[in-house]
């Protein structure tokens, strides 16, 4: 790696670290309006990271993750508003309920393959949304507001509340990133990458494909559920179409991840940032902004499958957040010396 690339790369890494630090201290740095926006950003980031983990690494494309977001929201409401549990406790409990429901969901939808699996998850989401609308204690079909007492337990002043909820969202996003990071660098993660490149090959060398997939599917559920709980604190309401909104928690997320760069660690971050910038500047366009987003994601898929991050990566020499394990320099030189001129294998297709 030449000096200039190294400088650019390390510069970008430093910028990233500074950004994270700024985000951690956000309530001290930004106004209330911005904090609200950043809280929303953090929640959407969690959803993006989870969808990307499944679709980009575990080869499980879902279009039904809004099911778990809604479950987290409804469970959170149930635990704290209906059964009086500590609100801070109700958030992870919401995640737990999402995890519990993800088990039968997984058993059912894993009977389907690829695109059918995706729509299968959508069916489950629809069913759960309709079922939620039958729960009168939760306000039935039109939903209900989060009680004031619950809201106040997050802070007596609005500023305090916004800060607390922001830190919850930021915390969840940070944990999501760390867990994903360590997962991808672990044996399971390497197995996933192998699986993504060549499923049969991966299975042949001992990667337990089903186990890896199941782990990922189940693992994303609690994060989605907790995000749902936090989103409820932002929206201050639960209602079937809103808490289980396919547009907000699935469609936008998918577009964002694709535009940002699916299958990369940086992609979901870039994609979510892009989405918020787009929304700020195109706020007045109404329905057209959704069309634009959809159209743009199609263009991106056709031009650069790795998204905006892929475009950046053409210039940058390495990932911003290194996930891949690199062989040591000694290993590289030894391997080069051992192999002769490239053996031409007719039937072999290099993994891309």
């Amino acid at each position: 790696m030449d000096l200039r690339s190294k400088l650019v790369l390390n510069g970008a890494r430093v910028a990233f670290v500074v950004a994270v630090a700024a985000m951690a201290a956000a309530p001290f740095l930004f106004s209330a309006t911005h904090i609200v926006l950043l809280t929303e950003f953090m929640s959407m980031l969690v959803l993006a990271i989870m969808w990307n983990l499944l679709a980009g690494y575990a080869d499980i494309v879902t279009v039904g993750q809004h099911a778990f977001v809604g479950i987290g929201a409804y469970a959170f409401f149930g635990f704290t508003a209906l059964w009086g549990l500590n609100p801070y406790l109700a958030i992870p409990l919401g995640g737990l309920v999402a995890l519990v429901i993800s088990v039968p969901t997984m058993i059912l939808v894993f009977r389907l393959r690829t695109a059918y699996l995706a729509i299968g998850t959508w069916v489950v989401a629809e069913l759960l949304m309709l079922a939620a609308g039958k729960l009168s204690a939760w306000g039935g079909g039109s939903g209900t507001s989060v009680p004031i007492s619950i809201i106040l337990s997050f802070g007596s002043t609005r500023g305090d509340r916004l800060a607390t909820i922001y830190w919850l969202a930021f915390g969840l996003a940070a944990v999501a990133m760390l867990v994903t990071y360590f997962l991808l660098r672990s044996r399971i993660g390497i197995g996933l990458t192998a699986m993504r490149d060549n499923e049969e090959g991966a299975a042949a060398i001992g990667v337990n494909v089903t186990y890896a997939r199941a782990l990922c599917f189940l693992g994303t559920a609690p994060f989605l559920g907790m995000a749902g709980a936090i989103i409820t604190l932002q929206k201050l309401r639960i209602a079937p179409p809103a808490s289980f909104s396919i547009t907000a928690w699935t469609v936008f997320i998918i577009f964002n991840v694709v535009i940002g760069g699916i299958g990369s660690f940086e992609g979901p971050i870039i994609g979510t940032v892009f989405y918020f910038l787009l929304r700020q500047y195109l706020a007045g366009l109404g329905a057209w902004h959704l069309i634009l987003l959809g159209g743009f994601s199609i263009v991106i898929i056709l031009i650069e499958k790795r998204g905006l991050w892929g475009l950046v990566r053409r210039v940058l020499s390495d990932d911003l957040i290194p996930i891949a394990h690199k062989p040591s320099a000694a290993f590289v030189t030894a391997t080069k010396a051992a192999s002769g001129p490239a053996a031409i294998a007719e039937t072999q297709e290099p993994a891309s």
Binding site: A55, A115, Y116, E126, L130, K134, F255, A287, W288, I291
Partner: protein, 288 residues
């Protein structure tokens, strides 16, 4: 008392005919091109709006309007596959999901901008209200019977097309092994486009009946997709006659659920689907 239940079941069977119409296009594109067109339901709704324009602005009779739409539908489907979807067909299923998902959003919002959110419906005239009395208090709507008959005829026609014609054999060949087809000189690109064109013709037919049977609005697409999807999975992937059975099962489930309320009507369908998925994931008449 039993008459009420028999009527419900009969209604459900007829509804199954409508659902089969939704599903045949999806069965074709999913079976041949091996991808699930998420915008499928939205295309049905788009066709409904096209029919709305033809019947209101040109004053055409709905049947004539439907027939007029069919060749346009073929051309549209052919072009969509040839110039857009062909670029994302292949091993990467994600690409197709993303593109068709994006298309779905674009259509829904385009229709919203163009027509507004109000529910629309096309009048079916006398046929819509006429009923046939079968005795013992059992009645069935004329339009419902016609719809069911149309579904049976459509499935039979597609069956004939696929298994008794040259183009049908070519479509089944590329569906078996697209690389081999290309190697022996079949243009898979053109054959895929033809298959999609045919799929869109069925979409046109489905729209013709749906636009009269029920209300529709720009957001109606996804529910049609889910219905079509459930029908083809229930019936067994790749089986056209299986979709007819799948449609009836779904229709009857919904009809019985509908005895309670709208939410239960839809939920009943999803629940039956999930139960069949749990017990017999390959569907009732699987080909693959």
């Amino acid at each position: 008392m039993t008459a009420v239940w028999i009527n419900q079941i009969l209604q459900g069977v007829m509804l199954g005919g409508l659902y089969t119409l939704f599903a045949t296009g999806l069965s074709l594109s999913a079976g041949v091109m091996r991808f699930v067109n998420i915008a499928h339901g939205d295309f049905i709704v788009l066709a409904c709006y096209a029919l709305l324009l033809l019947t209101t602005m040109l004053g055409l009779n709905p049947a004539i309007a439907t027939l007029a739409v069919l060749p346009i539908a073929f051309a549209f489907g052919f072009g969509l596959q040839r110039f857009l979807l062909q670029h994302v067909v292949g091993d990467n299923v994600l690409l197709v999901i993303l593109v068709t998902f994006a298309l779905s959003i674009i259509i829904e919002n385009g229709l919203l901008e163009g027509f507004g959110a109000d529910p629309q419906k096309i009048s079916g005239g006398w046929m819509e209200t006429a009923t046939i009395a079968l005795g013992h208090g059992i009645n069935v709507g004329v339009f419902q019977v016609v719809t069911f008959a149309a579904a049976v005829i459509l499935v039979a026609a597609l069956d004939l097309l696929l298994y008794r014609t040259g183009i049908g054999a070519k479509i089944r060949a590329v569906s078996d092994d697209v690389a081999a087809a290309n190697l022996i000189g079949l243009s898979s690109v053109r054959i895929y486009a033809i298959a999609m064109g045919i799929s869109f013709v069925t979409v046109g037919v489905a729209a013709g009946f749906m636009s009269i049977w029920t209300n529709f609005d720009p957001a109606s697409g996804p529910t049609r997709l889910l219905i079509a999807f459930e029908v083809i999975v229930l019936g067994g992937l790749g089986s056209l006659w299986g979709s007819l059975v799948g449609g009836v099962v779904l229709g009857v489930a919904q009809s019985i659920g509908g005895q309670f309320d709208i939410a239960w009507q839809i939920m009943a369908g999803h629940i039956v689907f999930l139960i069949v998925l749990a017990l017999r994931p390959q569907g009732l008449f699987p080909k693959y």
